[in-house]
């Protein structure tokens, strides 16, 4: 019986380890390939025998990588900031006061996830062009300046906030905005931070909209720039893997440093 149990546990771990390999081997192969030289890249060696940084040099010289990374950062940070601000205000109002149309507004917020971006991309594209915002960071960010997912997540958090603290602050003469800023916000810092991480990753990885709005290499976020590199019919696999490694480095670093918070924030907030 005990022996059978041990056997079962070994099998379990074996299967889990196989799953882990499937999950991270492609990343390993990406990094491995990025350090291989031109002749070695086409062999299946698991460690670069003569490691080289030539691929990285080539990637940097053939694409405005630094500019693209800057675009990506600006887009992701601006998007996250705007989404947090709009959702903090909206979530606060929904919980704090009772007013006409409150449940209607709540319904409007919660139904918006049924609308796929592909169903609204053409009118949005037309509007951005009309505003002259294509090829601009603002044009990429603006349609994503509000996230109903963030509003609803914060709504749940505000609802659980102890009312005594708010009451005390109000008697101290704190304004309504001051209560949000100085009483509630410091207490839900960690929630807002996990939500922020999630929104940042989403902003960084955004695909369809930036492809439509940015057409010139120097205006593109790194992901979209990488796409034209992927689709060019060259056999520069080494430098492509180098560029790919650079493109996911910030996200990987955030993940490795904050893995627990990242996983927890996905658990806490679910899917976007």
């Amino acid at each position: 019986m005990i022996r059978q149990k041990k056997f079962l546990s070994v099998i379990q771990h074996l299967l889990l380890i196989i799953m882990c390999i499937i999950a991270i081997f492609p990343l390993y192969w990406m990094i491995n390939s990025s350090f291989k030289n031109d002749s070695e890249i086409f062999t299946a060696s698991f460690i670069p025998l003569k490691p080289t940084i030539a691929n990285y040099v080539y990637a940097f010289s053939s694409m405005p990588i630094i500019r693209m990374m800057f675009n990506s950062f600006s887009i992701a940070i601006l998007m996250t900031a705007l989404q947090l601000i709009t959702s903090l205000l909206a979530g606060y109002a929904l919980v704090r006061w009772k007013f006409r149309g409150r449940s209607f507004i709540y319904t409007v917020f919660s139904l918006s996830w049924l609308i796929p971006f592909q169903a609204i991309m053409i009118p949005n594209y037309v509007l951005i062009n009309k505003l002259g915002l294509n090829e601009q960071i603002l044009g990429v960010v603006l349609p994503f300046a509000v996230s109903t997912f963030a509003i609803l997540s914060l709504y749940q958090n505000f609802k659980a906030f102890p009312v005594a603290l708010v009451e005390a602050a109000r008697l101290d003469g704190e304004s309504d905005f001051g209560i949000l800023l100085r009483v509630i916000l410091p207490n839900i810092k960690s929630t807002v931070a996990s939500l922020g991480i999630l929104l940042f990753i989403n902003g960084w990885n955004e695909y369809l909209w930036p492809t439509l709005v940015t057409r010139q290499l120097q205006d593109e976020p790194i992901q979209i720039g990488l796409k034209s590199f992927v689709n060019s019919d060259t056999n520069m696999w080494g430098s492509l893997m180098a560029a790919t490694t650079i493109s996911c480095l910030p996200i990987l670093i955030i993940y490795l440093v904050l893995q627990k918070q990242v996983v927890n924030s996905f658990v806490r907030f679910g899917i976007k």
Partner: protein, 323 residues
Amino acid sequence: MSKSLENNYPLSVSNETPVFRKRTSKKVKIIKTLKPYFYLLPAILLLGIWIYKPLVSTFILAFESWGMVPGTTPEPVGLENFVRLFNNKDFLTSILNTIFYTVGLFPFSIIIPLLLAVVTHGMMGKIKTVYRVIFFIPMILAPVTVSAIWRWLFQPSTGLINIALIKMGLIHKNISFFSDPHFAKWVILFVTGWGLIGFSTIMFSAALTSVNQDYYEAASLDGSGKFKQFFDITLPLLSPTIFFMITMSILFSSQFTFAYIDILTSGGPFGSSTNIYYEMYKDGFSDLNVGLSSAAAALFFCVFAIIALVLNYVSRKFAFYDN
């Protein structure tokens, strides 16, 4: 609930001196009444401009003909776009593919993650976290990053997968995964699924953490085995989460596959790997046929909304809630 922030404040609080009361209180009252709307204004405005208004526009454009050329205006054409949509062979293929992807993703979004969550749930301490953190990595990577890596692994002449398959003697000739109509679809499915496993695993793990352990102890005392416990306790208690994940999987599978189709195969070869959203994208931005694209968008928005409603109903009726 009574101790929450919600609804505890009357909107008008006036403790001004009686002399000024008449005038100020009216002003104060208006400001107080409008206050919530000020806070909601940015969100509502942005949502209206970028989500709801465009949705209405799409529904209108579905009955018009337009080539997105600046200076021209859309012309009403009645139901013509819908007639053309249903006579379009690519569109029918894309519906079949969409069903293929939706069904094909279930193992990646439900079955494998459920098993992984249950197996890791029983483990102790750190090792559990280590497994979960590793499973989760594919989820945080951008579609372009994932596509670039798999494009290299599946590369037709010197990619690792072809090299490995030939060495193992499973195939004799290299497979061109992306340009062979038999494989393109499966590669897209696999790559999308690869990214999904970790996310679903985490969702199921989170649900398992909140399951009351007493049930298992009682079942163990009754002498029921691990498999019986899984079917008698775990599955029913997880049913709300399972329904939720099934809904997600059905509604979002076309969005999940979209980026990979665009980057890896562009819907080809011969439209064999396309899906409905990719067809809309091509109709709109390659063929500049806004009417056709909008007709498809309007139609599928309704189809998915109905599916969501039905699933919501089914889930309420059949899922087991442990209160």
